[in-house]
Subunit: 113 residues, 2 copies
DNA sequence: TGTTGTGTTGAGTATCAACTCAACTTTTTT
DNA sequence: AAAAAAGTTGAGTTGATACTCAACACAACA
C-alpha cells in the first residue's frame, strides 16, 4: 500500500509525538506549510528542508527523499563527478533492481577497496 | 584541465561544424541562448534540453549532463524507486570512485542477473 | 465554558529556472 | 568592400519552486 510523501511525514511526526508547530520551528519553516505538505496540498519541500526534517524526526533522510522525487546536492555532486556514474545508473535503471539488490551492491562496494 | 559546460558545448559544436543558429533551431531554443550558455553567462539548460543537444551533436548525453550538475528525469525515477538506491550512492560518494571503478561496477551489474 | 494548543485554508510573495526578442558587433565569404 | 552569416548583449518574460502571513476551525482540558 503506497503512502504519499505527506502521509509518510504525518505518520512519522505523529509517531514521534511532536506537533506541526514544533517540527516547523525547528526546521525553520512556517507550521502552516507543514500542514499543507502533510496533506499533499503542496509539493514536498526542497531536498535541504527534507533532510532537516529527517534529522529532527530522527529518521534516515533517504526515506523521505525517495518519496519526494528530489535529489540531494550530495547526490548531484557524485553525478557531476563522472559520466561513468551516470552511465552506471542508466544501466541499473534498465535492470529495475530491487531494494535487496541495491543493498547487495552497497555491500559489494566495500569489497572494491 | 577543467572545461566548463559552456566551453565543452562550444568545443563540441565547433568540432561538428555547426552554427549556434542551426543547433538552436534543431533543439527548439533561441540561438542567443546557446551563445550565452556557451560563454557561461547563463546556467546550463535543463536536463531535457541538454539531452536534445547531445543527440543533435551526436555525443553521449552523460558527457554534458555530468558537467551541468543537472539530473535527468530517468535518474530521478530510479532514485525515487528506492531508498536503497540513494543509500548506495551515498556510500559510493564516500569512496570517491574513479571512472574506471564505475565502469567496473557497470560490468558487475550485468553479472547480477 | 473559555482559553490553550493544534491543525487547516486562502491568498499572497520572493526567488529562481529556463528561457525569448530585438538590437548590435564580429567574422566570413564572395 | 559589401553582403551574408555567425556570434554577442541587455532587457524582459513565463512558469515553477518554496515558501509566508493572517485568519479561521476544532479538540481537549482545566
Amino acid at each position: 500500500m503506497y503512502m504519499s510523501f505527506g502521509d509518510t511525514l504525518k505518520t512519522i511526526r505523529r509517531s514521534k509525538g511532536i506537533s506541526q508547530r514544533e517540527l516547523a520551528s525547528k526546521a525553520g519553516v512556517d507550521f502552516s506549510y507543514i500542514s499543507k505538505v502533510e496533506n499533499d496540498r503542496l509539493a514536498p519541500p526542497s531536498a535541504e528542508t527534507i533532510i532537516k526534517l529527517s534529522q529532527i524526526l530522527d529518521v534516515p533522510s533517504e526515506l523521505l527523499l525517495s518519496k519526494s522525487g528530489k535529489v540531494s546536492s550530495e547526490i548531484k555532486d557524485i553525478l557531476s563527478s563522472s559520466p561513468e556514474a551516470i552511465r552506471f545508473l542508466n544501466e541499473a535503471r534498465q535492470l529495475n533492481l530491487t531494494g535487496k539488490e541495491w543493498e547487495f551492491l552497497t555491500d559489494n562496494l566495500k569489497k572494491l577497496r
